[in-house]
Amino acid sequence: MTMTPPRQKVDRDEVFLEYTKSICPVCKTVIDAEVNVKDNKVFLRKRCAEHGKFEALLYGDAEMYFASMKYNKPGTYPLETQTEVKDGCPLDCGLCPEHKQHACLGIIEVNSGCNLDCPICFADSGHQPDGFSLTMDQVEAGLDAFVRSEGEPEVVMFSGGEPTIHPLILDFIKMAQDKGVHMVTLNTNGIRLAHDRNFVRKLAELKPTIYMQFDGFDPETHIKIRGRDLREAKQKALDNCAEFGLGVSLVAAIEKGLNEHELGDIIRFGIKHPAVKSVAYQPVTHSGRHVEFDPMQRLTNSDIIHGLVDQCPDWFKLSDFVPVPCCFPTCRSITYLLVEGENVVPIPRLLDVDNYLDYVSNRVMPDMSVRGALEKLWSASAVPGGDGNTTNQLECATCGIDLPEALKDIADKSFMVVIQDFQDPYTLNVKALMKCCVEEITPDGRLIPFCAYNSVGYREEIREQLSGVSVPTIVPNATELQPVLLTTKYGSKMFGNGADGEGNGAADGSAHVPADATNVGKTLR
């Protein structure tokens, strides 16, 4: 006689943390999503009625994810919003009245053309015959919308494509400055800065801060991310910037298994180069064009921070990197260093940043001016270096920690390190997106949160508007999607079902932003 063993209940292998919304990475329909913690990692999972279940890594260290929550600062209303709430987040960008934060940083992509054809490019740019190039009027319309929304905007970044090859780029920078934008930054691959000293000289008269792609030193890193070995060009561009007095932030795109090991080398190089005031590390954004990846194995902010601590143990510990309170705190972490020769001191070791930037526990505020200074330093609008906007704040923050007058020249010794993870169609979390403070400024006068712009379909929509050429909805180049992916004419991927193999998109040019299909407009009875 056999006995049936009693059935045992089984525990789930994850902790359910948050309920939110996201999009289907294939059709971009807005769908419900949940955030779970498993093996001390944070994952976002969602299910599209048509395309099935998707899961992606949000944060590689769940403890750090939890710890970051206290750095969540109340948002600020912009002076003006540009759209109405109609379909709900993320379909009303933007900014809509429900957005939780004003824009710390506005990006204007002045063209889609580029002098490189990188295998990795969230903007899907390159030597393309059918792109766009903004006119003075279009840039002015965007800047005016930004000024109406912000009053005196903190930072405008000109990007592309490759903005340095736009014939009007110097005029654009000047126009932004004339309209009262405090800081202008220029996002470039550095090629023109390496080869056109006359251009660098003219640029230096306007003194924008240069954000230069700089992914590492291994030839393989260059080939895999940029398609060419650009080491010599990068060095030359930096030397030219130093010679003409332009401050540079190195921007490193970090891809899992490719250049993670170069995190420490990049900052060691940056600290020594006279032009470099900052390093920004960005896990490769799996929007637009990129190499095949596994969403469960991607890099996140906490992975970059762990990597830096491992590779520079004499300089860093995990707690030196503080989440940024203006955006959602899991999106960006920053530290500042004082550097002199071999001596490196992370500023969070000099004062208890938590005493000022912990918005949950602190009811007693010892010194609001120090908090104000730290908020400006730990912000998406912080621009490093002598011509940046962090100098005065560093002086103010350090007077709060009793660092003496003698540190007045602190800007010369300070160095900023930024870690920023952008969302992609897999990781898009509406909860974080609603407080995004980095916006794409479009010529039709909208301010669209950067990660919505890249993931939801706005980029395709705007490019179509500006170029007059139909653009397909871009789908992440994820390993699990390989069987249904086709390559677009720009090198990115699109869904293969029903579209032609040339990647010309839907023939009817239908909307790229489908309506919500879950939990909207339904009642139980």
Binding site: P346, L350, I401, L403
Partner: protein, 264 residues
């Protein structure tokens, strides 16, 4: 103890004066005790402070503990400190923040507290008990001013002096709360002898490690800044001492402890 300072009274004054000095204030920074505001908050909760109670802060320094307890727990705080400059600036800060009615600072000695018997509901003493040369008297003074059933909350350095490195047994070590600190059990006994029964003890060694790290970072920053007030400091020697202190924490020789005791 240091060879340079033998008389306990001198030590006490020297310690209090040192805390007022620019150099020491610069190096120790805003957080005069390990654990910062978070640990003070925890201490307040462990004491179960109630709105309207009267609390004594022994060795109140610049007043950070007193301000937090007043603002977050709604208590009135009496701060006592040996340094007249600390007291004056803390009173000025209280007035500037509109707390002049609830927080008050007085110059006074922990071994002769200027308060009546059984006049306060709770006593706090953060990172200072270890520096009192006559700890037994200080403990009985705190017990004297406490109402029956009242509680005392101490956060302090705890260590085994016999295992401490010689170089830390200098005045600098004393000022930094290391050289006359005792093992936790001795604190418990000292309090018991004064009629204070320890009901709760917690280890917060990380807070001490973090503060030592902060001191080291500030030393590097000051060397970069070439601060005139610190011209006479031998930074390399200072950093070696700091490294010894950090090692002592790692080795379990030095730690930071939170004690709650009740007046029987």
């Amino acid at each position: 103890m240091s060879d340079a300072v033998q008389d306990p009274e001198d030590v006490k004054l020297c310690c209090a004066t040192a805390y007022q000095q620019d150099a020491v204030a610069l190096i120790l920074g805003e957080s005069y005790h390990p654990g910062g505001l978070d640990l003070t908050r925890r201490l307040g909760r462990a004491l179960d402070l109630r709105r309207g109670q009267r609390v004594l802060d022994v060795a109140s320094g610049p007043g950070a503990t007193a301000f937090l307890l007043a603002a977050e727990f709604g208590v009135a705080v009496e701060g006592v400190d040996l340094g007249d400059q600390s007291v004056a600036s803390a009173n000025a800060k209280a007035a500037a923040n509109g707390l002049g009615d609830t927080v008050r600072f007085t110059v006074g000695d922990a071994e002769r507290l200027p308060l009546d018997d059984e006049s306060v509901d709770a006593v706090v003493c953060e990172c200072a008990f270890c520096t009192f040369p006559d700890k037994a008297t200080a403990a009985s003074e705190m017990a004297r001013v406490l109402k029956p059933g009242g509680r005392i909350g101490i956060t302090d350095v705890a260590l085994d002096p016999n295992r401490l490195h010689d170089e830390l047994k200098t005045l600098a070590g004393w000022v930094a709360c290391l050289a006359d600190a005792r093992p936790v059990d001795q604190y418990v006994d000292l309090l018991a002898d004064a009629g204070l029964k320890v009901t709760q003890r917690e280890a917060h060694d990380d807070a001490l490690a973090r503060m030592i790290e902060q001191i080291d970072a500030r030393l590097i920053a000051f060397r970069m800044a070439k601060v005139p007030a610190l011209e006479s400091i031998d930074f390399d020697t200072a950093r070696q001492r700091v490294a010894l202190a950090a090692q002592a924490v790692r080795d379990g020789i030095a730690g930071y402890t939170l004690l709650i005791a009740e007046k029987l």
